[in-house]
């Protein structure tokens, strides 16, 4: 498979600490790539470099084997982009805004646009300035998808969307993937990336920490289980099980931090009467922690 996005030593200095440092990254054709990191890590900077909105201090970005700077308009013709800080023309209606964008691109299949609006339940007849954040977001998504681009670059695409629309977006992205098109999306939410992406790059403080298959990421992720037993249970019963990183017992409540599969812990707990089981999604910081403490196996 050929590389759709190629970043080599991509570096952007801003005055102080922000920016990105020496980023190497390849996204293959047909891949859904997740770019994961906390706010301010450099996700948006990277995307704006790829879209030629800002220029690198060092290194290069290539898209479709074209130079991101020199061939920007050629790349844009084949790319759909949704910025993280979405700003649309508030005085235009959704239809006017999208017609304008379509005209700039030399025309699009308008029936397809209407189909997208229907699927996302988006009223295009109202002035954009009167829409809620979620509805503005939908217009932004349609704008990115309307010319059926080979590459979709979405900066935090689901923030502000209600769960129903999020699901519809996931379905749309599935279709994009099924058609062999490429998606590069950024997020600070681990489960979102896990459910959408094939491969994930984790960025922190401007540096790429690791690139992994989503499956591997899940395996190395920490989960927190909290068992409420009918009677007191000793922490010792869990502490030596595979994957267990930490156990505390307080009366009838046992809390475990487990890396990878929780199978052994759940089976051990099942020997007792379990009144309740609470499981927490690992936060992004905990995923990072798993890397920095180096106990998560094959990091990198």
């Amino acid at each position: 498979m050929s590389a759709v996005i190629q970043l080599e030593g991509l570096t952007k200095h801003y005055g102080s600490a922000r920016g990105i440092v020496d980023l190497d990254l390849e996204v293959s054709e047909g891949e859904v790539f997740g770019f994961l990191g906390p706010n301010g890590a450099g996700k948006t900077t990277t995307i704006r470099l790829i879209m030629d909105l800002i220029r690198p201090s060092e290194g290069t970005a290539r898209v479709f084997s074209l130079d991101a700077r020199r061939d920007a308009t050629l790349i844009q013709a084949r790319t759909g982009y949704m910025p993280g800080e979405l700003a649309l023309y508030g005085g235009l209606t959704g239809i006017e805004m999208l017609k304008y964008a379509a005209n700039l691109r030399g025309g699009v299949d308008w029936a397809f646009v209407e189909g997208l609006a229907e699927r996302l339940d988006c009223d295009l007849s109202r002035p954009i300035g009167t829409l809620s954040t979620g509805n503005k977001h939908k217009v932004g998504l349609i704008h990115a998808l309307m010319h059926r681009p080979e590459l979709l670059i979405l900066d935090e695409p689901t923030s502000g969307l209600d769960p129903i629309v999020q699901r519809e977006l996931h379905r749309l992205l599935e279709e994009v993937r099924a058609e062999g098109r490429t998606v590069f999306l950024s997020s600070h939410i681990l489960p979102e990336v896990e459910s959408l992406c094939d491969r994930v790059g984790i960025i922190r403080e401007g540096r790429l920490v690791t690139i992994q298959q989503v499956e591997a990421l899940k395996e190395s992720a920490l989960s927190h289980l909290e068992f409420h037993f009918a009677a007191e249970v000793s922490a010792d019963e869990f502490s030596s099980l595979p994957g267990v990183r930490e156990v505390t017992a307080e009366g009838t409540v046992v809390r475990c931090t487990v890396s990878g599969s929780v199978d052994a812990v759940v089976k051990a707990a099942a020997l007792h009467e379990v009144l309740d089981l609470v499981s927490h999604e690992p936060s992004l910081e905990q995923v990072f922690l798993a890397y920095y403490t180096g106990e998560s196996g094959d990091a990198g």
């Binding site: 308009t73 910025p83 800080e85 649309l88 700039l104």
Partner: protein
């Protein structure tokens, strides 16, 4: 009106253009309503001549012949009020063109929609220029109607030349504001700095003749090339108009080069 960046920018200006046009027509008709009073009273010229020279120069330049149609229009409209309005209009439009959209955040999508940056700048400049010329048309129509109403003996061609000269001056400052916006990305800064330069240029042109040492500096002011050759009386001076066009082209060139190079804000 949404076919391209040029038309979209004109569309954005349509309301503002309408109000400025109404204001301009109101100003010119109100001013011209006073013309019969002036022309019937030659004493006005004497009163005017007795005023301190610095004061008359400041707001009327060399145009102290209030009772002739040309002198009246030049001193009461073309020297100060009309160019002031035009320059403000063009500076606001020029600073809004790139820096305004950048501040609003919509430039991110516009610049990733396959239109190259240089073309976005050129089309937006085109819209500012056309809007300013449209304003000049309003001005000319207002003056022509006024001249007929108060039975003023003035050449319609002269009025057209003076209106066009005003537009050329304003477009030059509009292009300057556009260039500042392209360099800095800051709308308020661009509008403010361009206005400050325009005010300084105005006073340089108006007051430099008061001092022998400063007189040569008058030719550094774009206002000199707008009114110095009295287009109302003599028609458009090709050389002076050429200087204003050259200034505009230079500012547009700087705007494009600066904008091609820099990082977008936001």
């Amino acid at each position: 009106m949404l076919a391209n960046v040029f038309l979209k920018t004109l569309r954005d200006q349509r309301r503002s253009l309408m109000w400025w046009g109404i204001g301009l027509v109101a100003l010119t008709s109100l001013t011209m309503a006073f013309y019969p009073a002036f022309s019937d009273a030659p004493d006005f010229d004497e009163i005017f001549e007795q005023m301190p020279e610095a004061l008359t120069k400041m707001f009327a330049g060399e145009f102290t012949d209030l009772t002739s149609p040309e002198g009246f229009l030049n001193s009461q409209l073309f020297f100060f009020v009309v160019p002031l309005m035009f320059v403000i209009f063009a500076v606001l439009a020029g600073s809004a063109a790139i820096a305004g959209e950048e501040g609003a955040g919509t430039l991110s999508l516009l610049l990733t929609s396959t239109t190259p940056r240089w073309r976005v700048v050129v089309e937006k400049f085109g819209a500012v220029a056309v809007a300013t010329l449209a304003l000049a048309l309003f001005l000319w129509l207002g003056l022509a109607a006024g001249a007929v109403a108060v039975d003023m003996d003035i050449s319609l061609l002269g009025l057209a030349a003076a209106s066009l000269s005003t537009a050329l001056l304003a477009v030059a400052f509009g292009a300057f504001a556009l260039a500042l916006g392209c360099i800095t990305g800051a709308r308020g800064l661009s509008a403010g700095a361009a206005s400050a330069v325009a005010i300084a240029a105005y006073f340089l042109n108006a007051l430099a003749p008061l001092s022998d040492a400063l007189t040569p500096l008058q030719k550094l002011s774009p206002f000199y090339y707008f009114i110095g050759a009295d287009p109302l009386t003599n028609g458009l001076n090709a050389l002076h108009a050429g200087v204003l066009l050259a200034l505009t082209a230079a500012a547009l060139g700087v705007a494009v080069l600066a904008f091609e190079r820099r990082d977008l804000h936001g």
